[in-house]
Amino acid sequence: MFEFLKIENVSYSYPKSSKNAIDKVNFTVRKGEIIGVIGPNGSGKTTLMKSILNMIDYKGNIKFYDQEIKKISRRSLSKKIGVVAQEFAPIYDMKVSEIVEMGRTPYTNLFGDLSQEDKKHIEFAFEDLNIHHLKDRTFYSLSGGERQIVYVAKVFAQNPDLFLLDEATVHLDIGNAQHLLLKMKERVKKFGSTVISTFHDINQASAFSDRIIIMKSGKIYAMGDPEMVLTKDMIEEVYGANCEVIKDPRNGTVNVFMDLEDNSDAFFCDVLKKYS
């Protein structure tokens, strides 16, 4: 069996910086897996993403479908990996349909003519995300949540095997974030896609991911099932935050609660006793 994505001893330090932004990172990703990457600001989450995209000159090996990422052309890579970043901000206002069509850029000929295949994927993207009604609207007339969904539609149209979400929900309210993450899960189920997503919100990461990678100072601090790695001690060691970790009684998802009271420990113990 081939390895879908294998990251071996990957390091990178930014110019003018003596410290490694990521330092000897190792992990493998199976096809169809959802990986959540968390860690404090500056822990190397985005640098890791940029390495996988071959946007920076990393040291070490990243193998995608058994092929070194650096040897894959930008165009071929863009057919396999799609990125949803924090926001999509074109300088000109465009129609939503034009933005979704943009996702087909790696596939079309020099003049950008759309083939039947291109049109099919664009249609799927509109269909899967339920945004037919936005088709003729202009991008900047939409709400923040709608814009991010249109951005996702563009990446769906790109039809990658691997989705990299770089804090894609960070500017969204809970309703829009839920909508986006549910649509990603649907995509994974339907197409067997793989997702690597960075998060600031630990609870979103916990609910969304099959496996969590916790990063600290450029190194992988812990990796595994959300219930295994998201512990009170771990959060304190990595983030320096005093938290309480509670399992959702319905499905076992772990949730992290921030402490702002001195006696909160006692409070949560009471709650736990009551519900568990």
Binding site: L53, M55, R74, R75, S76, L77, S78, K79, I81, G82, V83, A85, F88, A89, P90, I91, Y92, D93, M94, K95, E98, M102, G103, T105, P106, T108, L110, F111, G112, L114, Q158
Partner: protein
């Protein structure tokens, strides 16, 4: 799949071309429009009219069309590449750099080696590149090009090369009059050899920029987004810089510095026909050409017997539009 905006453009095109040719009628001597079209299709007209139409006004109008088209498509491409709707060959200083180069070649030819005049547009190209690179590196802040920094660096580079132009002219010719031709532009004295050079380079640049339209579309959302869509961004930037500077240099060495066309015409074409570069490139070429031809008609008829430099007219129209775009941008942020 053609959308409605694209259709409007193709329907409007023949009317625009007729308008452009109709400008031949105007000048110090008015020639009826019907006469003009007769002469153009080769029918018999009085011989003085024929000379005025075919030897004086037609090349001038075609030159204006070419220069306007070249400056507009270059502006349009720079705007997408730099992710800044205020970029244009004039604002970035390419035009004044190119003018400096062209005059330097002229002065060397005049004073030392007469053959140097043939290297005029090569000099223009080289100094155009120097000017753009200067603006680019002065305004760069951590991999980004903020609008204010870009405009300020452009102003400085413009002032610097503008001073260089005046210095060279006074040094070379001892004649300040010539400065206005270079610094404010003029299509007077256009000959068929200018038309051929500018025509070839303009058509080639329009075709080139149309052929990279899908990459330009992707770059509108930023360099990283473009890279995610498979665009080789550094290669693309280099090609746009070189091609844009080359056509600007050729345009400037035949007609001096004509400002603001590359800024306002792409803006207008996006307003009318949408922001897809596949349409906005040919549209801004045609609109830019038409705009220059119309401004030139005003320049050579409204103040007879003297001529107003065309750059004065484009600036009078362009500056308020520049302010409008700048204000609108600030409000959007």
């Amino acid at each position: 799949m053609k959308n409605s905006r694209e259709k409007i453009f193709w329907i409007a095109l023949p009317f625009i071309l007729i308008f452009i040719l109709a400008n031949i009628a105007f000048g110090p001597v008015y020639i009826p429009v019907l006469e003009v079209f007769k002469a153009l299709v080769g029918m018999k007209v009085p011989s003085t009219d024929k000379i005025i139409i075919l030897q004086l006004r037609l090349p001038r109008i075609l030159l204006g069309l070419g220069v306007g088209a070249a400056l507009s498509v270059t502006g349009n491409a720079f705007q997408a590449m730099l992710k800044n709707p205020l970029a244009d060959p004039y604002i970035l200083g390419v035009s004044s750099g190119a003018a400096f180069g062209a005059i330097l070649a002229n002065v060397i030819a005049q004073l030392y080696y007469p053959n140097f005049v043939f290297y005029m547009w090569i000099f223009a190209f080289v100094f155009g590149l120097v000017a753009t690179s200067l603006t680019y590196f002065v305004s760069r802040r951590g991999g980004k090009l903020p609008a204010t920094e870009l405009i300020l660096s452009g102003v400085i580079v413009n002032l610097m090369f503008g001073a260089g132009v005046t210095f060279l002219i006074v040094y070379g010719w001892r004649d300040v009059q010539v400065t206005s031709f270079w610094l404010l532009g003029s299509l007077s004295g256009a000959g068929w050899h200018d038309v051929i050079l500018v025509g070839i380079s303009s058509v080639a640049s329009v075709v080139f920029f149309m052929s990279i339209s899908k990459y330009l579309n992707a770059m509108v959302a930023g360099e990283e987004e473009a890279a995610y869509l498979g665009v080789n961004v550094e290669m693309m930037k280099l090609m746009i810089f070189v091609v844009g500077t080359l056509v600007t240099a050729i345009a400037v060495s035949t007609s001096g510095i004509i400002g603001f066309v590359g800024l306002i015409m792409p803006h207008m074409s996006r307003r009318l026909f949408g922001s897809d570069h596949k349409i906005s490139m040919p549209a801004s070429a045609i609109l830019g050409g038409t705009f220059i031809v119309a401004c030139d008609t005003v320049a050579r008829t409204a103040f007879t017997p003297s001529e107003m430099p065309i750059g004065t007219i484009t600036a009078l129209i362009g500056a308020p539009i520049f302010i409008y775009i700048l204000r609108r941008r600030v409000q959007n942020v």
